[in-house]
């Protein structure tokens, strides 16, 4: 156990920055992930999520700061770190021209598994993620969801202590997504530390802690409930409402944003989520928007991130 971390942390990031030429892709980020928990990494495109994950598995070196995985300094003990880490890249990175079984066999061997043990682990992993039935097919012809599962299987065969997953559920159907998350939690239950980047709020809600990266900086970090309850998410003198508008919701959004007492408005289905000043009564809001129904709405995680982003005073990067 080395100095910077307490012994319970599976991942420690301390004051880490990473520059690509003039571009600062990560700016003084610090966070810690306790062993056996799932940490969700969120943030808009280009905010630095993949960069952070690649620093954690030693593919990139930090420009400054310290990165520790499973209590080991990644910079000085990269080899040991690699044995303890499983990594699923954002882009499919297995061999298209090898079959599912061949891919798994190669990676099992690359992690030093030999003979009968290798076969056992390979089949175990394939069964766990449900790709066993695809064993003889070329990886290149698999559908996107199957490929993601295969990547995950390749990353867990060596029983890593820390699992780093870069958008593992992008493009996966809802049922498969749920199955995959169940699997991630069962791994966490066995003591594996997981760090998962995602754009899905429902996935974020299930994490023990989440971090929100925005323009290379970690804007907020903590359990989802704590983030939602932050005072700057719903400042004093304001409240959150849900206004049911029916089919005219798009026009309602424009109207709401023009109202002086509305701080924020977002569409959810046929309803608007609003952050309004307390000086406006519910009756006034309902009248101004022509709402059929109005009820108080606790902030969602997304509301929290939108608010934190707005407070940052910078415009949301649209890429």
């Amino acid at each position: 156990m080395s100095g910077a971390s307490d012994g319970q942390a599976g991942v420690v990031v301390q004051g880490v920055s990473r520059d690509f030429g003039p571009l600062r892709a990560l700016d003084r980020v610090s966070l810690a992930v306790a062993r056996g928990t799932v940490f969700g990494l969120l943030g808009p495109n280009g905010s630095g999520k993949s960069t952070l994950i690649r620093l954690l598995c030693g593919l990139l070196a930090p420009s400054e700061g310290v990165v520790e995985v499973d209590g080991l300094d990644v910079a000085s003990r990269g080899e040991e770190v690699r044995r303890r880490v499983g990594y699923v890249p954002q882009r499919f990175s297995l061999y298209d021209d090898l079959t599912v079984a061949e891919n798994l066999d190669f990676y099992a061997a690359a992690y030093g598994l030999r003979g009968a043990e290798r076969r056992r682990r390979r089949e175990e992993a394939a069964a766990l993620v449900g790709v066993a039935s695809q064993g003889g097919r070329l990886a290149g012809v698999l559908s996107g969801g199957w490929r993601q599962r295969l990547s995950l299987a390749a990353a867990i065969m060596h029983r890593p202590r820390v699992l780093l997953l870069d958008e593992p559920t992008a493009g996966i159907d809802p049922v498969a997504r749920r199955a995959l998350w169940d699997l991630l939690f069962s791994l966490a239950g066995e003591g594996v530390t997981l760090l998962v980047s995602t754009h899905y709020m429902d996935e974020a809600e299930r994490c023990s802690r989440v971090g929100y990266l925005f323009q290379s900086r970690l804007l907020a970090e903590g359990p989802p409930d704590a983030l939602r309850a932050r005072p700057d998410v719903t400042p004093s003198g304001t409240r959150r409402l849900e206004a049911e508008l029916g089919p005219g919701v798009a026009a309602g959004l424009a109207r709401a944003r023009a109202l002086p007492y509305v701080r924020e408005a977002t569409i959810f289905g046929t309803a608007l989520h609003l952050l309004v000043d307390d000086r406006a009564t519910d009756a006034a809001v309902a009248r101004d928007l022509g709402a059929r129904a109005l009820r108080p709405a606790p902030p969602s995680l997304e509301d929290a991130f939108v608010r934190l982003t707005a407070l940052q005073g910078a415009e949301r990067p649209g890429r």
Binding site: L59, P89, F92, S93, L94, A110, Y111, G112, S151, A154
Partner: protein, 368 residues
């Protein structure tokens, strides 16, 4: 219709502009090709000549000086026996050997009988051999005419030409050993370069790099299959050469195999170096071409080295192909041994070592 065409055209031009490497090489390669072809002068010059001068007379000195003045020959060695003369040619240090008889001096003066010059010619480089024979004959004739003009009866100088190897001056015997060098260049360099660049291009390097596999294991694991493939290729070409083209192998086959491994080591290292610097397979192909082209034109494969202008000959000597082709021809056509070829073997070894060093360094850097 025109609008559609313009849209696609604009997009393609953008691709080209975003890929300055490809563009640069696409312009550079034809320029290089043209320059090399243009610079090569196929009339032979400075053919290395070994002289066994038995007469050591003013006449013999004058004769050798005249041969040198023609600029076709350059005296590379002076030896003291006929065997040594032959040995110089086997070792490739001389292409032509000239034996001047003991009585050159006396006979040239009296012209009782014609004086016979023994000319040994290395047939393993057919174009050089043919031109060298012409040059010796021409000189002997003009010398004789000079003497005749002084009123002597018989032709005083009569060259007796003996082509040592490949006596029919067949081009197959000459080209195929060279072709081996060129073929191995293609498979050795290009396939190796691809093996790594493909991983980078497809993004599979990302997953490979997080495994505990050492860079050495990754690199060696990739190189060995191509080394094996190239050795199989070598065997196939040798069998075809022997059976179909009926070119006999005079030297030691094992030696040829061993030196081929040395050659391949330099090629694979070069492939590795290219792959460390290239992001895409297209880029790697073009970089490889930049090397393959001189290997064909400047290595002595098509044009004799003597046809390569002096400044470019520096490049020739830096190319692994030059040394391997000299080795292959030496072993196959002249039956040369390791001692005869040591200079090429040493040069090739140094080149291979330098390339291996540079490529492991470049590769380490790209992987870290």
């Amino acid at each position: 219709m025109i609008g559609d065409l313009a849209a696609v055209l604009r997009k393609e031009l953008l691709h080209l502009r975003r890929d300055p490497g490809t563009l640069r090489l696409a312009l550079l390669i034809p320029a290089l090709q043209l320059t090399l072809f243009g610079l090569i002068d196929t009339t032979v010059r400075d053919v290395p000549l070994a002289v066994f001068d038995q007469s050591l007379s003013p006449e013999s000195r004058e004769l050798v000086a005249a041969l040198e003045a023609s600029r076709v020959f350059r005296v590379a060695r002076r030896v003291a026996s006929r065997d040594a003369l032959r040995q110089e040619i086997v070792a490739g240090r001389a292409r032509v050997g000239l034996e001047l008889p003991l009585d050159l001096h006396r006979r040239a003066l009296t012209a009782e009988r014609s004086s016979t010059l023994l000319v040994l010619v290395d047939g393993s480089d057919a174009s050089v051999a043919a031109q060298a024979i012409d040059a010796v004959n021409g000189l002997a004739l003009s010398r004789s005419l000079e003497v005749l003009a002084r009123g002597v009866e018989a032709l005083p100088l009569e060259p007796r030409v003996q082509v040592l190897f490949n006596p029919e001056l067949r081009s197959a015997a000459l080209l195929i050993p060279g072709l081996i060098g060129i073929l191995l260049t293609f498979s050795g360099t290009l396939l190796t370069a691809f093996a790594l660049v493909r991983e980078r291009e497809r993004g599979t390097l990302e997953q490979l790099m997080v495994t505990p596999l050492s860079p050495a294991a990754i690199v060696l694991g990739k190189l060995l299959p191509y080394l094996g493939l190239a050795m199989v290729q070598l065997a196939v070409v040798l069998v075809l050469m022997r059976v179909v083209f009926r070119v006999p192998i005079h030297g030691d086959l094992l030696l040829l195999g061993a030196l081929s491994v040395e050659y391949l080591a330099s090629l694979l290292a070069l492939g590795l170096l290219i792959s460390a610097r290239s992001r895409t397979q297209v880029e790697a192909t073009q970089r490889a071409q930049l090397f393959l082209l001189p290997s064909i034109l400047l290595s002595g494969y098509i044009f004799p080295l003597t046809a390569v202008p002096a400044p470019l000959r520096v490049v020739s000597h830096l190319l692994p192909a030059t040394h391997f082709i000299a080795i292959a021809r030496g072993i196959i056509v002249r039956g040369a041994g390791l001692l005869d070829l040591w200079q090429h073997v040493l040069a090739l070894g140094l080149i291979a070592a330098a390339l291996l060093l540079a490529s492991t360094r470049a590769f380490r850097k790209t992987l870290s």
